[in-house]
Symmetry: D3
C-alpha cells in the first residue's frame, strides 16, 4: 500500500482514538452517527458516498474528500463517475474549489496505483 | 400551481433575463455551463440533481436548494430519498444547516400539493 | 408576546414537526443531539449558549442566532455580556458579520420589550 | 428616491445607531475602521469599492453587496464595469453566487431608476 | 518546549512582524484590535478565549484554533472544558469540522506534554 | 528562481494536466473560462487580478492567493497596493483571514527575492 495512504489512515485512526478517549458524549455520538449515515437505504450506498464526496469538496475539506474517495474506490466507482460528481462541485463551488480538486485527483490516482 | 412556486420562478426567470441582457461573456458562459452540467452521463441525472441539492444545502443557499428540489420533483425522486440525501448534508454541514432544511422541507411540500 | 417572536417560534415548531414526521433516523438523531448538547456540564449552560450564539454569528445564520438569543434571554444574560460575546464574532468574522449583528440586536431588543 | 432604497438605508442607519448605543468598544472600533478603509490611497477609491463589492459577493452577503453597489453608483462606476467585477466573483465563487447576483442586479437597476 | 509549538510561534511572530513592517494602517489597527479584544470585561477572559476557540473551529482555521488553544492552556482551562466547548463547534459545524478537531486535540496534547 | 515557487508551479501544472486528461467537459470548460476571465476589458487586468486576489483571500484559499500574487507580481503591482487590497479582505473577512495573510505576505516576498 502506498505510503501516503497509510500515513493518512494512521493519523486519522490514531487521532480518532485520542478524541474518543476524551469521552465527550456529544462528540462520541457525532462520530457514531457519522459511521451510521453512510449505509444502504432509500438511496444506494454509492449515491450517499458521492454526496459525502461532493459536499466535502464544495466545503473544501481535503481530508474529508480523501476519506470519501477511499470509500468510493472500495465501492468500485469509476473514474468517469468520480470526475462527473466532482465537476458538479466545481461548478457549484467555483474556481476556488480547483486546488482541492487537484489534491483529490492526486489522491484518487494514488488509490489506484 | 401554488403562488409561492410561481413567485420564485418568475423572479428567477425575470432576473436571469436581466443578467443575460447585460451581455457579460463570462457570466453568460457560466449560465450556459450551469444548464449543461445537469445531464445524463456517467452518472444518472437523478444522482446529479441530488448532488446539486446536497451541495447547495451544505453551502446554505435557499434559492439553489429550491431550484434543485423542483428538478428532483420533476424526476419523481421520492420524499424518502430526498430526506436521506438531505440528512447527509445535515450531518456534514451541522446544525447550522437546520434552518435551511426547514425551508427545504416546506418547499418540497408546496411542490407536492 | 411580540408578534415577530411568535411568528419565528411557530414556524420553527411547525417545520421541526414536519421534518421529524418524515422519520429519517439520521436527522432525528441530529435533532435529538442538538437538544442534549446545550446542558450544564464541565462548562456552564450560559457559556455553552454563548458559544452557540457566537459560532452561529460567524457562520452568519440569522435563525440560529435568534434561537440562541432566546435561550440567552431566558438565562438572564445581560446585554453587555451579549454585546461582548458578539464583538468577538464580529472581530473574528469581519465586517461581513455586521448585517447579521444588526438583525441580532434588533431581535435582542424585541425579546426585552 | 425609490422605496426599497429608503427602506434599506433607514434600517441600516437605525440599527447601526442601536448597535453603537450599546457602547461596546470593539464593535465601535470595527465600525470606525469600516468607515476609514474605503478611502483613496495607493489604490483608487473605485478599486477599493470594487473589492468591497466582489468580496461581499463571494461571501454571499446581500446587504453588504447592496451597500457597496450604492457606493459604486455614487462613484459613477459603469454597469459594464460592475458586471465585469461581479463576473469574477461568479467564476471564483461558483453558481452558488447566482441568486445573490440576481438580487445585486435588481438593486443596481433600482439605484439607476 | 516542544518543537512543533516553537515552529508555530516563530512563524507567527516572524510573519506578524513582516506584515506590520508594511505599515498598512488598516491591518495595523486590526492587529491592534485583535490584541485588545481578548480581555477581561463583562465576560471573563476564559469565556472569551473559548469563544475565540469555538468560532475559529467552526470556521475551520487550524492556526487560529492552535493560537486560542495556547491561550486556553495558559488560562488552565481543563481538557474536559475544552472538549465540551469543541463539541458545540462540532455539532454546529458538522462532521466537516472533524479533521480540524483531530489537529486541535493533537496540539492540545502537545501543549500539555 | 526560488524553490518554493517552482514547487508550487510544478505541482499546479502537473495536476492541471492530470485533471484535463480525464476529459470531463464541464471541468475543461471551467478551466478554460478561468483562463479567459482575467483579461483586459471594461476593467483593467490589474483591477481584475486584485479582485481575484482579494476574493481568494476572504474565501481563505492559500493556493488561489498564491496564484493571483504571481499574476500581480508580473503586472508590477506595488507592495503598497497589494497590502491595501489585502487590508480590505482582512477587514471584510475578519481576523480569521490573518493566517492566510501571513502566508500571502511570505509568498509575496519570495516572489520578489
Amino acid at each position: 500500500m502506498n505510503e501516503k495512504i497509510n500515513e493518512f489512515r494512521d493519523y486519522r485512526k490514531r487521532m480518532n482514538e485520542k478524541i474518543l478517549e476524551k469521552d465527550n458524549l456529544v462528540i462520541k455520538r457525532i462520530f457514531n452517527l457519522d459511521t451510521n449515515t453512510y449505509k444502504e437505504g432509500a438511496l444506494s450506498l454509492k449515491t450517499k458516498e458521492l454526496i459525502g464526496l461532493t459536499t466535502s469538496l464544495v466545503l473544501r475539506c481535503d481530508d474529508c474528500v480523501k476519506y470519501h474517495l477511499e470509500q468510493c474506490a472500495d465501492l468500485k466507482i469509476s473514474t468517469e463517475e468520480i470526475m462527473e460528481a466532482m465537476s458538479v462541485s466545481n461548478l457549484v463551488g467555483g474556481t476556488i474549489v480547483i486546488p482541492h480538486l487537484r489534491r483529490a485527483v492526486e489522491y484518487w490516482e494514488i488509490l489506484h496505483e
